[in-house]
């Protein structure tokens, strides 16, 4: 699993340009991921590769096409110093694990990376980088395999209850 390293403030227009939002199929979207800003990504990405970014990854539009394009490319884990709010939710909802890591900037591009969620770290080139645990209420969605599978099991929701999800 190789690391694809990105800078701060990678926006959803960069992840998937607006003109491709007419497509809804992750495999088709994946062909255009980072088009014009990092063309080698869609050509060389392999299933299981990991995106590592700086601050505010996924800022901008609410387009779920962005995390979907990444699932289409086989990405299942994104590590960043911080995530934009809507992207973070969307990623969890479509089954991507977003991991917050203070030291994400130190993880080298192209490195081989392994992830140990239980122990709370990722390891690249012999160095361990601690990652924050996913908040409890999002954990249930991730465990279910995304919000769709989670929602399928729900008969009804009780509004105004705390931490129900």
């Amino acid at each position: 699993m190789r690391v694809w390293k990105f800078a701060d403030n990678i926006d959803t227009d960069a992840i998937i340009p607006g003109r491709y939002l007419i497509h809804n199929d992750p495999a088709v979207l994946a062909l255009h991921a980072f088009e014009g800003t990092r063309d080698e990504f869609s050509k060389n990405v392999r299933g299981g590769d990991v995106i590592v970014a700086g601050r505010n990854f996924g800022c901008g539009s609410s387009r779920e096409h962005a995390p979907l394009a990444l699932t289409g490319a086989g990405v299942r884990v994104i590590i960043a110093r911080t995530f934009a709010r809507i992207f973070y939710r969307n990623a969890v909802n479509v089954g991507i694990l977003p991991l917050v890591c203070d030291r994400a900037d130190d993880i080298p591009d192209g490195a081989d990376i392994t992830i140990d969620i239980e122990k709370g770290y990722v390891e690249a080139e012999g160095t361990r980088y601690p990652v924050e645990p996913v908040p409890g209420f999002m954990q249930d969605i991730i465990t279910a395999g995304g919000l769709v599978d989670y929602a399928r099991e729900l008969e009804e929701v009780k509004t105004c209850t705390g931490s129900q999800v």
């Binding site: 505010n56 901008g60 909802n93």
Partner: protein, 416 residues
């Protein structure tokens, strides 16, 4: 303990005290979907084994991003949504009304004290109506369509207090660009921006919408102006709404207080490729431009068009610039038409299009080629946002856009 406006809205909708940091499954008063994010939301609704939406009257559907359909795929997406609307009994505004956020506001579909979601990041604009409104993705929207509820972590708030009178040809867009520069592109992530102070109290709804619209550009979950007489006056003729007490308490707890005095504020321009790169117009004046876009949910209202027309006066737009002007909605278009603005723009050399998002998202028409420079009254200037990733987009107010369109280069509107 005092509460912020956002805490008050969640508390009043749930009938118990709710504070920032709590995660609640909140009831949703209205949900908006459009032609880009709607098809995925509907597919997710079905994948969640949804059969009937929770309440068809609370779902707002319209098409604005790629209208009229500019490709066969876009036409198919819209046809798919029309079928869904018919099957579920949802009123579909289709391509008739204009940009989603403007339509929600002017139809009175977002009211003070309500909790509203939209499958679009600029849904935060309805904070101008005193609602808690936030953008969500399509899977969350599928969940809302089915259950009429969504979990939220109730955000802390940043209080933005604005005083002073705007100088000539300086306005709300310049203010919000300067706030974005100070707070930064992620400085308000997971927070709400609560606007107040005498300048906001005296600001018309148009300007409040411009400010709340851009809350997301600082990462905020919502922007909000507590409903006051301006808000309630706006609703007259749109929708009868009951006044609600959602003023923040004097001892409300904020993550941060920010104070602005607009008296000394000049026109601001955000440089490529981030919204928080705003500088005073003087610093970029003289930059040659290829295209000017006046429109979008941020600045496509009648007030914005009138501001541009006032600066334009009897001049013509430069032949070196393609000027695209798009009223945000049919209502705003009609107002501009009746006031003679459309004729003036067309006479001056602009292309005036029917209400829609246009070049704002780089998905439909008006795209930029490599090396081209655009000056735009919209809200985002990310690399590739309006076409080629080798193009450059600057953001500004309608006044600055109009002045620049006359000279073919970025121009201080106070000097025309």
């Amino acid at each position: 303990m005092g509460a912020t406006v956002v805490e008050k809205i969640f508390s009043s909708r749930c009938g118990r005290a709710i504070s920032a940091g709590e995660v609640v499954m909140a009831p949703i008063d209205a949900a908006m979907i459009h032609d880009i994010t709607g098809p995925l939301a509907i597919r997710n609704f079905y994948r969640m084994e949804g059969t009937r939406v929770y309440d068809p009257r609370k779902i707002i559907m319209l098409f604005d991003h790629q209208v009229p359909a500019d490709s066969i795929a876009a036409a198919e997406n819209q046809a798919f949504m029309r079928t869904f609307a018919a099957e579920q009994g949802i009123h579909n505004y289709d391509i008739r009304e204009g940009i989603c956020h403007q339509v929600v506001m002017e139809k009175g579909l977002a009211a003070p004290g309500e909790i509203i979601v939209g499958a679009d990041s600029h849904t935060c604009m309805y904070g101008a109506a005193g609602a808690f409104a936030t953008g969500i993705g399509s899977t969350d929207m599928g969940f809302v369509l089915k259950f009429g509820a969504l979990y939220f972590r109730v955000p802390e708030s940043i209080r933005v207090e604005v005083t002073g009178r705007f100088a000539w040809r300086v306005g709300p867009k310049d203010l919000i660009l300067s706030i974005a520069r100070d707070i930064g592109a992620d400085g308000a992530t997971y927070q709400a921006l609560e606007f107040g102070g005498e300048t906001i109290a005296n600001m018309e709804m148009d300007g409040r919408m411009t400010c709340c619209n851009m809350a997301i550009e600082m990462g905020a979950k919502a922007g909000i102006v507590p409903a006051d007489r301006v808000t309630y006056a706006y609703f007259e003729g749109h929708r009868p709404v009951k006044p609600v007490d959602i003023y923040p308490d004097p001892d409300a707890i904020y993550r941060e207080h920010r104070v602005y005095d607009v008296a000394d504020l000049g026109p601001q321009v955000a440089m490529p490729h981030n919204v928080d790169l705003a500088v005073p117009v003087e610093e970029v004046a003289g930059t040659p431009i290829d295209q000017v876009f006046i429109g979008s949910c941020t600045n496509g209202r009648f007030g914005d068009l009138a501001e541009a027309a006032e600066v334009l006066s009897d001049n013509r737009f430069s032949d070196a610039v393609r000027v695209i002007i798009i009223p945000a909605s049919r209502d705003e278009y009609l107002k501009a038409l009746r006031a003679g603005l459309i004729e003036r723009f067309v006479t001056a050399g602009a292309l005036v299009e029917a209400p829609c998002c246009g070049p704002c998202m780089g998905g439909a028409f008006g795209l930029l080629g490599p090396g081209e420079v655009s000056l735009s009254t919209s809200n985002r200037n990310f690399k590739g946002r309006q076409g080629s990733t080798e193009a450059r987009v600057y953001l500004c107010s309608p006044a600055t856009a109009a002045a620049s369109a006359i000279y073919g280069e970025i121009t201080d509107p106070r000097e025309t």
